[in-house]
């Protein structure tokens, strides 16, 4: 079902220009091309104009105008999403939020900070580290991802096992509704149950319900000590079981990550690390020095029982960062071995990981074209990223990839009690599997919520969370 949208006429563009100023609007072909992509491969959608607003008031005026004329508006942070989340499927306005990047107010005593949505995760953490604090969510894309994008996607990352995901650190939001009202949700206090939890509703809404213009975050004191260790195994099964055993041992590491042979090889090559090829388990513990030592020792004993061919404990801060940055580079580093990498993001209960891994490894056998798979992920949270490696310019391989996805969801993830996406979101690429996981009634409820916020369906339309789904136009990609 298609929606009727208005055209962004020259008159409207002039009005938008008067809202944000001529230097903050572009309709140049080159800028539109650069607003047409994100980190998702194979899908590109050109907006008709890009705007770089600086205030909530400007965004409110933009949305009032867009709502009146039914122009689609899609917010965008750094464009690092992996499911088409920030792409302007129906054209219209790309609202580039990355220029709104001030840190507004840090309150060390209450351990909170207020920021604009364009602040980048690592930049926030640099600022906080100077003051003895940190913001725990740490997606592998932390060097690029904006806080607005992280909130809208409810991003997870490497430390979710111990510290939770973005939603666990957001106290309040200022947001602009698609109809133009500027609202504040949540409370500055750590506890508040005085209404439906609209903050949590907006978190993870993938830019379909409101444009986030300010974010109030909880921060935490930096732990006194950290220990980061790397174990490499010849056998993938041993690596996976090691991770499961660490998790079940009663220790709560701050990071428990896995990389199979192909992804660890590419990542270590990038980080110029001299370690043998094999499947890697990366573990971080943090906290009080004595506790960290004890935890690291226990983990070491567990890992040694499974006979790693190599292990290393980082001896300096630089070495810790190097190990972690190697893991963070896993996805882009894989581009060294295949032209197209499509990253999936399912979760299953942690104990089902070995079974899930084994089933995934068999997927290529049933395909008509060669598709490679390399898997890494936040194994401690039962969140794996199988990466499908192929040549996206070959229609046959694309079809085979499409089938591989189907098998992944229908025969692995859902039967094992998992979710189709742990942290990257539904966007465009997982829309077809929403009902498989949630059932028609729940998906219907979600669409009704969307209508309450956005009666004219102008905000990031044709995404699976808000609908309508599927989009009537060809969006490329695997579909």
């Amino acid at each position: 079902m298609g929606l009727e949208y208005g055209r962004l006429s020259e008159g409207l563009i002039a009005e938008l220009e008067s809202i944000v100023g001529p230097e903050n609007i572009s309709t140049r072909a080159e800028d539109l091309l650069c607003g047409s992509y994100e980190a998702t491969p194979l899908i590109e959608c050109k907006p008709d104009a890009i705007l770089a607003p600086r205030t909530a008031e400007q965004i409110s005026e933009i949305l009032v105008l867009a709502n009146r004329h039914r122009i689609p508006v899609t917010p965008r942070g750094a464009g690092t999403s992996l499911a088409g989340n920030s792409l302007t499927v129906a054209g219209g306005i790309c609202l580039d939020m990355s220029s709104m990047k001030s840190i507004l107010e840090f309150d060390g005593a209450n351990q909170t900070i207020a920021v604009e949505p364009g602040v980048v995760c690592d930049t926030l953490n640099d600022y906080l580290a100077d003051r003895g604090f940190f913001f725990p969510p740490d997606p592998a894309s932390s060097s690029a991802a904006t806080i607005g994008g992280m909130v809208a996607n409810n991003s997870g990352g490497n430390r979710a096992l111990k510290y939770g995901v973005t939603k666990d650190h957001v106290l309040w939001l200022e947001a602009v509704l698609p109809t133009g009202e500027i609202v504040r949700t949540g409370s500055r206090t750590l506890k508040s149950v005085s209404g439906y939890d609209l903050t949590r509703l907006l978190i993870g809404s993938e830019g379909t319900l409101a444009v986030i213009t300010k974010v109030g975050l909880k921060v935490m004191p930096l732990p006194e000590a950290r220990a980061v260790s790397l174990y490499i195994f010849d056998d993938v099964e041993e690596a996976v079981r090691t991770a499961v055993e660490i998790k079940s041992s009663g220790i709560l590491p701050s990071m428990l990550e896995f990389m199979d042979e192909a992804s660890s090889k590419a990542s270590f090559e990038y980080a110029k690390m001299d370690c043998p090829e094999g499947c890697a388990v990366l573990v971080e513990c943090d906290g009080w020095r004595e506790a960290v030592e004890r935890e690291a020792e226990s983990i070491h004993r567990i890992a040694l029982r499974r006979g790693p061919k190599f292990f290393e404990r980082a001896s300096s801060r630089e070495e810790m960062e190097r190990l972690i940055s190697a893991r963070k580079a896993a996805l882009p580093a894989l581009s060294r071995i295949a032209p197209t990498i499509f990253m999936e993001d399912f979760t299953v209960p942690m104990t089902k990981i070995p079974e899930a891994y084994a089933r995934i490894a068999r997927i290529p056998e049933g395909l008509d074209a060669p598709i490679g798979i390399s898997t890494f992920g936040h194994i401690g949270e039962g969140n794996l990223h199988p990466n499908f490696l192929f040549d996206g310019s070959d229609p046959e391989q694309r079809r085979a990839f499409r089938k591989a996805l189907d098998v992944l969801y229908r025969e692995v993830v859902i039967p094992l009690g998992g979710s189709i996406t742990g942290e990257h979101g539904v966007g465009l690429s997982r829309g077809d599997y929403m009902e498989l996981e949630h059932g028609a009634r729940v998906v219907g409820l979600m669409r009704e919520i969307k209508r309450v916020f956005d009666p004219n369906m102008i905000l990031n339309p044709y995404k699976a969370k808000g609908g309508p789904w599927p989009p009537p136009m060809d969006i490329g990609g695997p579909h």
């Binding site: 230097e23 903050n24 572009s26 140049r28 072909a29 080159e30 800028d31 091309l33 650069c34 607003g35 992509y37 994100e38 980190a39 491969p41 890009i50 770089a52 750094a78 464009g79 690092t80 580039d96 990355s98 220029s99 990047k101 980048v120 690592d122 930049t123 640099d126 580290a129 100077d130 894309s141 060097s143 690029a144 991802a145 990542s267 990038y270 580079a329 996805l331 882009p332 580093a333 581009s335 060294r336 032209p339 990498i341």
Partner: protein, 387 residues
């Protein structure tokens, strides 16, 4: 656009395809956010070039401007997990455009014309190049070691050249200069895409070196260092090390060596300093430790900023950015100077005359009076103390 990718960019087609658009290179690009659009960030630049290569965009003034809006600091390339040689591709794009008959944007052009006419980027008289030199250095003495001061130290930051000469002299190292014949190394022409003209200059310079019987070439400027050691062989097939048996050193490497040999004696600097890695010395040439060892060797305590070594932010001066975008370059200089002066140190030391000049302006704008030294002047202070 027909003809695109037939020139220097052609070698980068594979790199452009490898970009997975992860955006890791975005945030710390020193110039990205000086302009609101993605097209200005390294990822955007890569995607623009990819679109040119595939024919989905044509060369436009806007694209040309974007490629020149870059300090060629090399951060994006070091950051890129996919191994895309980003900044090299941007430099090749500039050369591609010039090869297609286009011109560099205005501010860059002025500098290029000065280099071509006068052998320096500042519009200065050629004869003034030796202004800093004591008379004994001016006459073309024969020696195994040639000190190439470079344009910035010769015309704008004479303290660098003077201190270098004093230190080497005190170390008992016999060296010479080319005097007023030194001329330009070609760095600016290369960085701005005028590779044909740069190659001519490179060949002229090679001829100058040939007859001298030198074994070592020492530069003050990391830009000259990179140009001689990296760009001449890569772009023009002129390998001074292989063909002339030259050892090419940045002065920080020579200082370190002379210190190790006990020929430079410096001590007792009761100072805490931080070191700013110049892009051309650090990221481009991998020289991170020699300047640090010299600073420590002088007795100073070195405090590292979290954005140092390969992560160091650019001072904003490179790649012709300062000449073309003075005000924006200053904004980046102030940003970097501000980062460094936030540390509890008495001074900022770097090893590049361009960085010194830009960071001094930056620190003023930032509102601090922290001194910024080039390594030679800093070291000279410590050697005179040790006497």
């Amino acid at each position: 656009m027909p003809g695109t990718l037939e020139g220097p960019l052609k070698a980068f087609a594979g790199d452009l395809d490898k970009c997975v658009r992860c955006g890791f290179c975005r945030e710390l690009c020193p110039v990205g956010d000086l302009y609101p659009w993605e097209a200005n960030f390294p990822r955007g630049k890569v995607q623009l070039l990819r679109a040119l290569a595939r024919g989905s965009l044509r060369v436009s003034n806007y694209i040309v401007d974007r490629m020149y809006f870059c300090t060629t600091c090399g951060y994006c390339s070091k950051r890129c997990p996919s191994g895309v040689r980003t900044n090299e591709a941007f430099e090749a794009a500039r050369a591609e455009f010039i090869g297609l008959g286009l011109r560099a944007p205005e501010g860059h052009l002025r500098v290029v014309e000065s280099v071509l006419r006068l052998g320096n980027p500042f519009g200065e008289a050629e004869g003034d190049r030796e202004r800093w030199m004591p008379p004994w250095l001016r006459a073309g003495r024969r020696s195994k070691v040639l000190y190439w001061a470079g344009c910035m130290a010769s015309y704008r930051l004479e303290e660098t050249a003077i201190s270098t000469a004093k230190i080497l002299n005190a170390a008992g190292l016999d060296f010479t200069t080319l005097g007023r014949a030194e001329g330009d190394c070609g760095s600016i022409l290369i960085r701005t895409g005028y590779w044909r003209e740069a190659e001519r200059l490179a060949r002229e310079n090679t001829k100058k070196f040939e007859g001298l019987g030198i074994g070592t070439l020492v530069t003050s400027c990391p830009g000259c260092f990179r140009t001689f050691a990296n760009d001449y062989p890569k772009l023009f097939g002129i390998d001074l090390e292989r063909d002339l048996g030259l050892e090419i050193l940045h002065s920080s490497q020579l200082f370190e060596r002379l210190m190790r040999e006990g020929r430079i004696i410096a001590s007792g600097l009761d100072m805490k300093v931080t070191y700013h890695d110049p892009c051309h010395l650090g990221r481009h040439m991998g020289v991170y430790d020699p300047p640090r060892n010299v600073i420590r060797g002088a007795g100073a305590e070195l405090v590292e900023h979290s954005k140092s070594r390969w992560l160091a932010s650019c001072c904003g001066a490179g790649g012709g950015f300062r000449s073309a975008h003075g005000e924006l370059s200053l904004r980046q200089a102030a940003r970097r100077a501000g980062q460094l002066s936030d540390l509890a140190v008495n001074a900022i030391v770097t090893a590049c005359p361009f960085c010194v000049v830009n960071l001094r302006r930056g620190i003023e704008v930032f509102g601090s009076d922290m001194p910024v030294y080039d390594l030679p002047a800093f070291l000279e202070g410590a050697t005179s103390r040790a006497k």
